[in-house]
């Protein structure tokens, strides 16, 4: 203890001397934030070690010992990714009201998840999404496909997280983005491998507290500093939004400056708040399609669904959604505050083009917030990406080891071998994710939205019909997957094509109506329709499955 105190005291002058380096927006090593980041990451690993998985049950489902509030915090922490922490403000910073479609989509989906699935999934009693699909649709092939889809979704989702980790490591260390992705990715991989699911779950509650605190503290300071109602910044920033719409003259808030010496002023910018403003290039259709796709994607994401297995009973699964949503909303009410204040603070063209994905941190910097608090904010961003990534890696490796290896390749595998395969799966996924993240395809939130649309087109229809209609059978499930998979493939082909500079047939039409961030708006209904039609035309679901649904899931 003495040694620890000594170490902390010896660090104080170093941290204090680092106070000024953070005022430079980019490009330098920031000692204070780096120390905070290392401290928090060490804390994660320490907690992960204390609660590490002892066997496979612990690894997959955390021993089902988590309370409702704890599970709600874990849901929130698992959910509050780099896309929420960094990406949400980034979207609103760039496209104003359009960005709120993501806020609404990522919260409204929990209502669907709760009323249509949470309790029933818990009662079904399987460990993974592929487990459910394989059992419900009595098909090894579908289990395998389900596992592969779960892995692909986890990869797509995690690419955005690695991007966020890379951005924050780049900001703190002043290094190149690609190197930052490799370093950040290695740390999250090491942590996930060591702690396993139990550690991650316990850790997620701590991570939630760190994430939400680091996100909130600068908000109180910023709103206080720039003369808005600071006691509840989530309401107080309403006046900032209206100020952006009407414009702020230099004389109105004279004396208030950003860290670069610019006045707290902006020309009238109604485009920030007005719906689907022409200058943002976003339309009403896109707003609706994004909100809808994200909502059904939420109810189909393997790593979200998997969280319901870690509560003792279905009632706890239901209430954990309420708590989880509340904890998530705390962050989602707050993200637009950064976007609004960041818009004003960076309004002077001299500030230059800022990376929207780092606008949360830039806002705090431009607002002249204490550098150590800005460092805490960056650490919160890394923590958000960390908590989600570790959950994703576990979901992906579960699918790899449990659904592919044990259920398909080697049913006689011992638990020890199974753990080993899970860890190899984690490693492989991390490598693939790192490589894709280095390509820097789109904004973090947009990359994550791809995973949601994939889940909405594939897993959501299987769960929805699998739970609520015993008539949905194996052939129907396959037909639905083919349709949902085809829509996904078309959309992603056009996304990659656009990035590669190819002009594909009907390019404008497809990229607009099957946009990569929202193709589930049509893909999911088509997949559901295909499932229903083919199920009606083919043999009925076996009696034991129907019996199980009635007696276990719905009684």
């Amino acid at each position: 203890m003495k040694k620890l105190s000594l170490l902390i005291f010896s660090l104080i002058p170093l941290v204090a001397s680092a106070s000024n380096d953070v005022t430079q927006l980019e490009g330098s090593f920031k000692v204070g934030p780096a120390i905070i980041l290392i401290f928090i990451l060490s804390l994660f690993i320490l907690v992960g070690l204390l609660f590490r998985a002892k066997d496979t049950t612990d690894y997959y489902a955390a021993g089902r010992r988590i309370s409702r509030v704890g599970s709600g915090m874990a849901i929130a922490s698992n959910w509050m990714s780099a896309a929420s922490f960094l990406g949400m403000a980034a979207l609103m910073y760039g496209t104003g009201y359009h960005g709120l479609s993501y806020v609404v989509g990522w919260t409204g989906g929990y209502v669907l998840l709760l009323i249509l699935m949470a309790g029933q999934i818990r009662r079904y009693g399987k460990y993974t999404a592929a487990d459910f699909i394989g059992d419900r649709y009595y098909s090894k092939t579908l289990r395998t496909i389900g596992a592969v889809i779960a892995i692909l979704i986890s990869i797509a989702y995690a690419v955005g997280q690695f991007g966020g980790i890379g951005l924050m490591f780049k900001w703190v260390m002043g290094i190149e983005y690609n190197l930052a992705v490799i370093i950040g990715g290695s740390v999250v991989l090491a942590y996930t491998l060591i702690s396993g699911m139990l550690g991650v779950t316990k850790n997620m509650q701590i991570q939630y507290v760190i994430i939400i605190s680091s996100f909130m503290i600068p908000l109180f300071l910023l709103t206080y500093k720039f003369d808005y109602f600071w006691l509840v910044p989530q309401i107080g920033y309403g006046s900032a939004v209206q100020d952006i719409v009407e414009g702020i003259q230099i004389s109105e808030k004279s004396g208030l400056m950003n860290s670069l010496g610019h006045h707290f002023a902006i020309v009238p910018s109604p485009e920030y708040a007005m719906p689907w403003d022409p200058s943002t290039g976003q339309t009403f259709f896109q707003w609706m399609a994004i909100a809808f796709s994200l909502m059904i994607g939420t109810a189909g994401l393997p790593h979200v669904i998997q969280r319901f297995y870690v509560v003792p009973k279905a009632r706890d699964a239901r209430w954990s959604v309420v708590w989880g949503l509340f904890f998530i909303c705390l962050l989602y009410w707050s993200a637009p505050v950064y976007s609004a204040l960041g818009t004003i603070l960076s309004a002077n063209p001299e500030v230059g083009k800022l990376s929207p994905d780092a606008i949360v941190v830039y806002t705090a910097q431009l607002g002249n917030i204490n550098p150590l608090i800005v460092g805490l904010l960056a650490a919160g961003g890394v923590s958000a990406a960390f908590s989600t990534t570790s959950g994703l890696l576990v979901a992906g490796s579960s699918a790899f080891a449990h659904d592919l290896y044990v259920k398909v390749i080697n049913p006689m595998a011992r638990p020890k071998t199974q753990m080993k395969v899970a860890r190899i799966g984690t490693l492989l996924m991390a490598v693939i994710i790192t490589v894709i993240a280095m390509v820097d395809l789109a904004l973090i939130a947009q990359l994550v939205a791809i995973a949601f649309s994939m889940a909405g087109c594939t897993i959501f229809p299987l769960f929805l019909l699998g739970i609520w209609w015993s008539g949905s059978n194996r052939a129907g499930a396959k037909a639905g997957l083919i349709v949902g998979g085809t829509v996904t493939l078309i959309s992603l082909t056009y996304l990659v094509g656009a990035r590669a500079g190819w002009t594909l047939p009907y390019n404008d039409f497809i990229t607009y109506y099957l946009g990569a961030w929202y193709f589930a708006w049509i893909g999911a209904p088509l997949a559901i329709a295909a499932n229903i039609i083919v199920s009606k035309l083919t043999d009925e679901t076996p009696l034991e499955i129907r019996q199980f649904l009635i007696e276990k899931v719905h009684s």
Partner: protein
């Protein structure tokens, strides 16, 4: 039990509990859908494209400029509107470049001809400094910027201590007199794009400081979702208690 009895469908519940659960889900689902999509549809239906004051001013001034009947105040009014758009957060680089060309050209039209070369030199020097400085607090940079503001802003009827004056100094191009035909043609479209917004009573009503529609989507809907989830859990608990439904712990 016959195999026929082992069929479940959301729309054809077979037990009292299932029926009540279905009804609850349908009610909550409708409330959810109307709250999210119904509101956005309403917003879309009642919206109207409304120009900003700056666009109205610009349009009449630009018409006179194009027809060759412009007065000095027309030039100044058009330039002020264009500078306002240059300060927009969503401005694209190509559009910004066209506007800076236009603003520079208008300045050259209204500025005393004999003093123009001096101003031009100052602008060129300032733009060079922009590339060289490592800090925006560089004294030479700040002084040159103030010098340009003191010369150019009054010529366009802009107060020196205003945001428009800052935007003007930062935005001027090296050669003030060059204004390509292509950019000239683009400018009315650019102005219209950035200065027209979809507005209605829902966007213009202020609630707790917010434009109402913004408050609704960013704050209220999230509260509403939590409320819907709470109602579902509470009602389900009550239903289970009423039916003596006990859940097993695995």
């Amino acid at each position: 039990m016959e195999s026929e009895d082992y069929r479940i469908s959301f729309f054809k519940p077979t037990t009292q509990q299932a029926k009540k659960n279905r009804n609850l889900i349908i009610k909550l689902f409708i409330a959810w859908a109307v709250a999210i999509f119904g509101f956005q549809v309403l917003l879309k239906i009642i919206e109207k494209p409304v120009p900003e004051e700056a666009l109205i001013t610009f349009s009449s001034a630009w018409e006179n400029i194009e027809s060759g009947e412009a007065t000095q105040s027309d030039y100044k009014a058009a330039a002020r509107s264009m500078i306002q758009v240059m300060g927009k957060i969503t401005i694209k680089p190509g559009d910004y470049a066209a506007l800076r060309d236009g603003t520079g050209w208008i300045l050259s039209e209204v500025y005393p001809e004999d003093e123009l070369p001096d101003l031009q030199q100052d602008v060129q020097y300032f733009n060079q400094l922009k590339e060289q400085i490592t800090s925006l607090r560089d004294e030479d940079y700040l002084e040159t910027k103030e010098l340009i503001i003191s010369k150019a802003a009054p010529a366009l009827g802009i107060g020196e201590g205003t945001l428009l004056a800052q935007l003007l100094a930062i935005g001027l191009d090296d050669n003030l007199q060059i204004f390509s035909e292509e950019n000239r043609e683009k400018i009315p479209g650019i102005m219209s794009l950035y200065l027209t917004h979809n507005r209605s009573v829902l966007t213009d009503t202020i609630f707790l400081g917010f434009p109402f529609h913004y408050f609704y989507s960013a704050v209220f809907l999230l509260m509403f979702f939590i409320g819907l989830c709470w109602i579902y859990c509470h009602k389900t608990d009550k239903l289970h208690a009423k039916l003596n439904f006990l859940e097993k712990v695995d």
